[in-house]
């Protein structure tokens, strides 16, 4: 299998789990949110552990060990959940990074989130490894010594850190305070970093959907009860623990260092980190998206685009008309993803306006709304002129589909007028009644799956606008109309659209039969 097949494979896996569990309960669609949940769990259980921890070199071990002596005590369970939560956090973070990488989400407007996320990795590593030192057992001793030897391999540090772990007498309470600082200070820094990481996206999912959150926490709890974490004997620096139950999620670098060299582990860490930081700057043929443009004459300052933009690319400013309180939307070209979701949000985007060129408040130059309206009109007219008007003809179905998602199969019959959009979020709902009044027999809107939207919120806003839960909404008369259909289908899931079209044709035929 070539590396190029990896993104496709990942997408398949996402779709498979969607079908089995539904998008809301599909964990690999909510990796970032699950990692957040793991972090909150770590913070809460960590607070409890900190309250009982004796922060001295001689007392730490006993204070933590006492928690595990009573089976299924709150302290013992929290201790185990703290550890398993940390493993899960590391695993979820790695998968989250992999997913964004495979979806190619690190360039242009996503650069900020990619870079701020990558910058968190060393902080996560230090926070996680440092936790093992606080419980001053043989594993903590091994990890602290290995880390010191690794740091000493850097010439600039003067090669003396590992001397702190030569004999038990060397480990002072002051050194232990440093451990506490590492394991409390670094996670605090992480909170700040995480906040920064989600700055440029609106409505960041910092909590997974309820069923997923419950399942995740219940699994960790079950694991903590079934396999409680045990200390591995108090630290004894005069000997090397002969066999260690090592946490491979977090401490894998220590055995790697002893199997190879500290230099190699440094090289892997530095090259890997630099590669992540440089990735968004690698020249690519993928062009920067064309950004949204505001037309002052048609912008009333209603703020709908500002609210709906998934990337916080719009701010509201004083309108050049200088009327008191009159605002205008302003697009930040560096943040704009070019998704068109703002166009679908704008109240000026209605096709019923009697102007030859449909100019709206905010539009996408690469696919202006007026072109969409003329294409729709023209294709409906063509269909009216060319169709056989025989008994079998049920009239044209207009398919508004997302260019990022699935397409109807190539053999789609001539009764379908396909109009691709940048994202279905670009579609003002009034286009649906416009199409129906202008001769379409039915309208099918195909979005990506919820949580699978390339532009994060496009599928959600479309579904909410069509069901009337969000402005601008589809006219009530059409909301439950059987000839209006919303389909969720990711790229590659063409069958879903085909099936939807077949269902729609059946409805139209049935109607024709009953009305004759």
């Amino acid at each position: 299998m070539s590396l190029a097949a990896a993104p496709k494979l990942w997408r398949r896996l996402e779709q498979l789990l969607d079908r089995a569990l539904g998008a809301r309960a599909n964990p690999i669609r909510h990796l970032g949110a699950l990692a957040f949940l793991a972090f909150w769990l770590l913070a809460l259980s960590g607070l409890w552990l900190y309250a009982v921890l004796d922060t001295s070199a001689s007392g730490a071990y006993a204070s933590i060990e006492a928690l595990s002596r009573v089976p299924w005590s709150i302290g013992g369970v929290l201790r185990s959940m703290h550890r398993y939560g940390a493993d899960a956090f590391v695993m979820l973070t790695a998968l989250h990074l992999l997913r964004e990488l495979l979806h190619g989400r690190f360039r242009h407007f996503r650069r900020f989130s990619w870079l701020t996320g990558s910058a968190l990795l060393p902080i996560i590593a230090v926070s996680a490894v440092g936790g093992f030192w606080l419980n001053w057992d043989r594993l903590g001793q091994f990890s602290a010594t290995a880390t010191a030897e690794w740091l000493d391999a850097l010439p600039l540090l003067g090669s003396t850190l590992a001397r702190n772990f030569l004999t038990t007498a060397n480990v002072s309470d002051r050194l232990f305070s440093l451990f506490v600082f590492v394991h409390v200070g670094m996670p605090l820094l992480l909170v700040f970093g995480l906040w920064f990481h989600i700055q440029r996206i609106t409505r960041a999912e910092v909590f997974p959907p309820r069923p997923l959150a419950v399942g995740f926490l219940a699994t960790l709890l079950a694991l903590a009860l079934a396999l409680p974490i045990q200390s591995q004997g108090p630290a004894q620096l005069a000997s090397i623990p002969p066999s260690l139950a090592i946490d491979w999620f977090i401490l894998f670098a220590h055995p790697l260092m002893y199997a190879t060299s500290a230099g190699l582990v440094w090289a892997i860490a530095m090259v890997g980190f630099l590669a992540l930081l440089l990735l968004p700057f690698v020249p690519t043929r993928i062009a920067r998206p064309t950004v949204a443009v505001v037309d002052p004459d048609n912008c009333s300052g209603c703020q709908r685009c500002f609210v709906d933009c998934p990337y916080a690319a719009i701010t509201m400013a004083a309108h050049p008309s200088k009327r008191a309180g009159h605002q205008i939307a302003v697009v930040d070209v560096d943040l704009c993803a070019g998704c068109g979701i703002c166009v679908g949000a704008c109240p000026s985007s209605t096709p019923f306006r009697h102007i030859e060129e449909l100019v709206t408040g905010i539009d996408m130059p690469q696919q202006a709304l007026t072109t969409l309206r003329s294409a729709l009109r023209q294709r409906l007219q063509q269909h009216a002129q060319s169709s056989p008007h025989d008994a079998a003809d049920t009239g044209p179905i207009v398919l508004f589909r997302c260019s990022q998602g699935a397409d109807a199969s190539a053999e789609t019959a001539g009764d379908v007028i396909t109009l691709p959009l940048i994202c279905t979020g670009q579609l003002p709902p009034s286009f649906i009644d416009y199409a129906l009044r202008d001769g379409a027999a039915a309208v099918v809107v195909a979005t990506c799956r919820l949580s699978g939207c390339t532009y994060r919120l496009g599928a959600q806003w479309t579904s909410e606008r069509l069901s009337g839960a969000r402005e601008p909404h589809l006219r009530a008369a059409y909301r439950d109309a059987p000839n209006v259909m919303l389909i969720e289908a990711d790229a590659g899931e063409n069958r879903e659209i085909d099936m939807g079209l077949t269902t729609m044709r059946a409805r139209l035929t049935q109607f024709k039969a009953t009305s004759v």
């Binding site: 569990l21 309960a25 699994t219 396999l227 623990p241 946490d247 919820l450 109309a481 969720e488």
Partner: protein, 182 residues
Amino acid sequence: MVEVPSTAPRAAPATRRGPAAWVGQIILYGLFALTIGVFSHWPPYHHLSGDEALVKLSIVHAGKPVSDCRQRTPEELAKLPPNMRAATNCPRERSPLVVELDIDGKPAARMSAPPSGLSRDGASAVYRRLPVAAGEREFAVRMRDNARSAGFDYTLERRVTLKPAQVLVIDFDPHRGTLTLQ
């Protein structure tokens, strides 16, 4: 608008219910728990093989100055600003530390560590971990901290019986001025 009777559901639901979804979730959470439960403990790591001990040779010590203090000539003194005219000039640079370790008569480590600091006036540090077979071993440690002397300024020879997994630390005691094994 064409009025059509309703027959089929709209979009695929975001949440699935029913036995298939339950089985799917159980398998998935089971796999998740298994992955975490297993790799947070297993496979065990053996840092040393069963019959090995570990020797840690770790010394931090400032070498002697590379040369003696000397008196400045009147000409040299005259060139200096008045507030800096100290009669003796002591070099700050220290000698590198040379440490050798033989185990059972065979060379096990040969190290030379430069003094730290930009003016090379800080302590030198050596650190080496050496896994050795447990049992009775003959250790010979030699250290030179003076670039002007030819031989070794400190030596230590000791026979030690190492237990498996034991850590033997070779260090330098600056107060007593001796090499130590502990």
